[in-house]
């Protein structure tokens, strides 16, 4: 890890509970500019909860803080955090099934389009058309990049699982994010699909230097593409370091072996 890189997201002392269940306890870590940080840990460790706190969807205890672009994210609304160019790829299927691939991606551009209801009614004579056409070019680039040209006009609800995940990823890219949160983008995919997805993630990281937080179970993938790994177990951070450090960490090995031993 390049220690000189600036901190993009500073997560400090995040705690979160649902009724009596403690999902996160005093978790702190830094995400550096342009790095791929992986969060790993067994099922129910609190990985998704951590991402949801950054997105402002779960409200972490006020004693902690998440600072990004000089703003405190705790207490902000989810759609306001999106305005800070924070994009999310979801665990499972969360695409818009009744829309085409193209429209799913165009929806990712929602925030960058600046016109109102009246302009939308008078499409031809308003700035709506001009803006839509401009953005359309960028969307087509993403479609080419993700190799989903053949399903541009297909309804996403009718697509196979792997393709829907790809649309989800494309929709996040359409937001032109500075911070991309990926929750198990490769879960349930076959080997070939996983390799494609890993390649896409690396390409985006290299070309746009997008800062990413990746939750992934596949240790092979994580070791390959992550610059930095945070390990959670029962809502607590048990390790934090480079892939090499993590793979040799006795606490991590114990936790994972303990997990498999069950």
């Amino acid at each position: 890890m390049d220690e000189k890189k600036a901190v993009a997201v500073k997560v400090s002392d995040i705690s979160l509970s649902f009724g009596g269940v403690r999902a996160l306890s005093d978790v702190s870590f830094d995400v550096h500019e342009g790095e791929i940080l992986a969060i790993i840990g067994p099922n129910g460790a609190g990985k998704t909860s951590m991402l949801n706190c950054i997105n402002g969807f779960y409200h972490a205890d006020r004693k902690g803080s998440i600072v990004y672009k000089d703003r405190e994210l705790i207490g902000m609304k989810t759609y306001d955090i999106a305005k800070l160019s924070v994009a999310r790829v979801f665990q499972g299927i969360q695409t818009y099934g009744g829309m085409t691939t193209l429209d799913n991606l165009m929806t990712g551009m929602h925030l960058t389009l600046d016109y109102g209801v009246l302009a939308s009614f008078f499409y031809f004579w308003s700035k709506a058309k001009k803006q839509e056409m401009e953005k359309r070019r960028k969307i087509e680039d993403i479609i080419d990049f993700l190799e989903i040209k053949h399903i541009r006009k297909a309804y996403v609800g009718e697509l196979a699982y792997g393709l829907r995940k790809r649309v989800d990823f494309g929709r996040a890219l359409a937001m032109e994010p500075d911070l991309l949160l990926l929750d198990e983008p490769m879960a349930g995919m076959n080997l070939e699909e996983k390799e494609d997805m890993a390649r896409f993630i690396l390409d985006v990281s290299e070309e746009k230097q997008t800062t990413m937080v990746l939750v992934e179970h596949d240790m092979g993938v994580v070791m390959d593409i992550a610059d930095h790994i945070v390990v959670l177990d029962f809502g607590k951070k048990i390790a934090d370091g480079t892939p090499e450090q993590i793979s040799k960490d006795p606490v991590v090995i114990a936790a994972y072996l303990g997990e498999e031993g069950n």
Partner: protein, 351 residues
């Protein structure tokens, strides 16, 4: 998946997102418009013109309901009541204040729209069936107010509304009103189609399909629902106002809960698109006519069905049609039509 005939490739994005994409479709559209505005009025009698005017008005109302139900995914049961608000507001402005339709109608529509969001706002904050329950309650409150409005609404005796005129020209017969109603309906269809291919329309569908993901992508879910509800009631207001000025008099029993449910049925039959809303309205109106003429004949053959049994028969018949649609064609008439059409257009070279 939507397929264009072989050989038709979109040259530019502009072309790709145009409303009417192939020359063939342009031809069909021009033919349809020529038929509606040119040929039909030449041959059709007043009875048919009247039916067409009702269809045109219902298309505007159904489009409004489609925006909130089909596109945004919020079930409203108050649509007939919002139509009544538009109709009565327009009629009152016209009768009590002598206002012209061209001022009364926009005011009535705006009032219906604002009243709509005032009523639905609290329920739109929450997920689930609260909107349906709230609008159901609103229906009864609105109808009660109109019925007990005294001289203002004329209660049970019905409220009059003035003729629509432009200068000295009055839309005072079926033929003249037909053109006006068709123009309104065509404009509504065109504007709604525009909206649905911009960020506003996409935000609505995003909220319908996955409000959670929408929120994460920066869509203000609540604001989107409120906008949709406002437009929905606004359309209802326009339709109500047109109806009032067409008939010259309106009564409360023209806006029942059953009417809201019929509109919902039209959308179920047509499917969740703009064309679907139009098809649903036309299909149900045709069905109504069939029953209207068919039921007395049945009553003739089987005397037990005669008289009041005809009304009951109508309800059962419509109910059955809707259930059949839900079972066999849950995505509506328009979807079926697209499938039929696409096999046709691709024939004989399906690539």
């Amino acid at each position: 998946m939507y397929k264009k005939p072989c050989g038709v490739f979109d040259e530019t994005y502009e072309q790709d997102s145009a409303l009417v994409r192939t020359g063939y479709r342009w031809l069909m559209l021009v033919l349809l418009l020529a038929c509606l505005f040119g040929v039909l009025p030449l041959f059709a009698g007043n009875y048919f013109m009247d039916a067409m005017i009702n269809i045109a008005i219902m298309v505007i109302a159904a489009l409004g309901l489609q925006i909130i139900i089909g596109f945004t995914g919020q079930v409203s049961l108050g649509h007939a009541a919002f139509m009544a608000v538009g109709a009565y507001t327009s009629a009152m402005l016209s009768t009590h204040l002598g206002m012209s339709f061209w001022i009364a109608m926009p005011l009535a529509a705006l009032f219906a729209g604002l009243l709509g969001i005032l009523i639905a706002m609290p329920a739109l904050r929450i997920r689930g069936f609260y909107v349906a329950v709230t609008t159901l309650a609103a229906h009864y409150i609105i109808m009660w107010l109109i019925l007990h409005g005294g001289n203002l609404t004329k209660g049970v005796s019905g409220m009059t509304a003035g003729e629509i005129r432009i200068g000295s020209f009055a839309f005072d017969n079926e033929l003249k009103f037909y053109y006006l109603a068709m123009l309104f309906a065509a404009t509504a269809v065109f504007l709604t189609s525009n909206m649905m291919r911009t960020k506003i329309g996409r935000a609505m569908i995003a909220v319908r399909d996955n409000d959670l993901a929408a929120e994460f992508m920066g869509i203000n879910v609540f604001k989107t629902k409120v906008t949709a509800f406002f437009l929905s009631s606004l359309y209802a207001g326009v339709a109500g106002s047109l109806l009032a000025h067409y008939q010259g008099i309106i009564t409360v029993d023209q806006f029942t809960l059953m009417d809201s449910i019929w509109m919902l049925a039209m959308l179920i039959i047509g499917g969740a698109t703009i064309t679907g809303a139009i098809m649903g309205v036309v299909f149900l109106k045709i069905l109504q006519q069939v029953v209207l003429f068919g039921a007395p004949m049945i009553g003739h053959v089987f005397p037990i069905f005669a008289g009041s049994a005809v009304a009951a028969f109508m309800q059962i018949f419509f109910g059955a049609v809707i259930i059949l649609f839900l079972i066999f064609e849950p995505r509506g008439l328009f979807h079926r039509w697209q499938i039929t059409l696409s096999t046709f257009r691709l024939w004989p070279f399906p690539y």
